[in-house]
Symmetry: C2
Subunit: 224 residues, 2 copies
């Protein structure tokens, strides 16, 4: 454990506070604190005001729970997006990552976490209830009343789709399965992300599970 | 350049502000911003208040310019320290580093920077004037009046010493030389840090300048 004798209580408090951030140890925190000390006072106030504003004034889209400056986020209020496809993700970061690919044109649903008994996170801590309501509304108000048979399948419109874009670990798979059980009764199409070798990956270094899935789920070769 | 489309202006502002910190890029800044967003509001306020307090309320020791909670720092007001030895350092961080070695029992003088024409830092931007005054007081008030001959040397007390503990680069050497010129007239002993191979260093990987100095300044072998 790295122990430091601080010449000032103010410095120690600031280092402790900065050191609470993830990935920033005591040494980095001290470096950042001394850096902030050398900056003009208004720059430091600007920094802390920006952080406070983020936490105090942030809003979440009432539809998809993405962070947003308005009641409805820019994605949910964009008329050009496919409103019959919902991509379920764990966090705000995931939405930004998928948006950056430019390959997805539907809507999102941010769970706000993942089912994890070891961390004390159960289904009721996430926005799964809201997701079920969205899927229900998408499939018509009578959805789910008829039992396990889907109601979406009979309509004239294209079948709605829910993409489960969660991590491939045990907690992600558990959450995906839980959500699948909740929404499969509506007859909505439920898909999940393709798993396989990444582009540029070397076969030699791929783990067996990934390589195995890549063979089983092989695709037709499409030359450009 | 990593470009991100932010779902919220508040988030973008916070990421920009956090990204101004040294060693924190846009990706890390986004990760930190989203982390802060997930924390309880009082934790975030505690964090920003600690940073603001540091910048707004910090004081500098009137003697050595070290940061301090009081008018005089804990080192300068410690009666057990050797008051006739002054270690000149660039920054607060250097004082903490030397204190951590437990090998030094004199006082300090924090320059608050280093002479660097390329960064627009001249001698008047540093606390060199204050250092000269301290050395002058240490050598008696008549010091410097008699010309270049030292005045300290004649007193009954041990000769005062100024240790120039600055970096070994060009700017550090320039600053050391400048200070030496300013204080050598008082007859004070002026030393600088030993340079040589670090403990555990491999000869094979030492640069020629360091290795050369290590040979020239070789010391008597002292078995424990």
């Amino acid at each position: 454990m790295y122990k430091e004798n601080y010449p000032s209580k103010l410095l120690e408090n600031a280092v402790d506070a900065i050191g609470m951030l993830p990935g920033i140890g005591k040494r980095s925190a001290l470096r950042l604190a001394l850096y902030l000390l050398r900056q003009p006072q208004e720059n430091v106030h600007h920094f802390t005001a920006a952080v406070n504003s983020l936490r105090d004034e942030v809003r979440y889209c009432r539809v998809c729970r993405m962070i947003s400056d308005n009641e409805t986020c820019s994605i949910c209020s964009d008329p050009s997006r496919d409103r019959r496809t919902i991509c379920v993700v764990e966090s705000v970061r995931d939405v930004m990552s998928i948006e950056n690919t430019g390959q997805y044109h539907g809507l999102y649903h941010v769970l706000g976490g993942i089912i994890s008994p070891i961390n004390g996170v159960g289904p009721s801590d996430l926005t799964i209830r809201e997701l079920v309501d969205r899927v229900s509304a998408l499939c018509g108000s009578d959805a789910g009343a008829g039992g396990t048979d889907g109601d979406c399948t009979g309509t004239g419109e294209s079948q709605p789709e829910v993409i489960l874009a969660l991590s491939g670990d045990v907690e992600g798979e558990t959450t995906s399965f839980y959500i699948y059980r909740q929404i499969s009764g509506f007859g909505v199409k439920v898909s999940s992300l393709a798993r396989g070798l990444g582009f540029g990956d070397d076969l030699e270094y791929a783990d067996e599970l990934t390589l195995g899935r890549s063979i089983v789920n092989r695709q037709m070769f499409r030359p450009y």
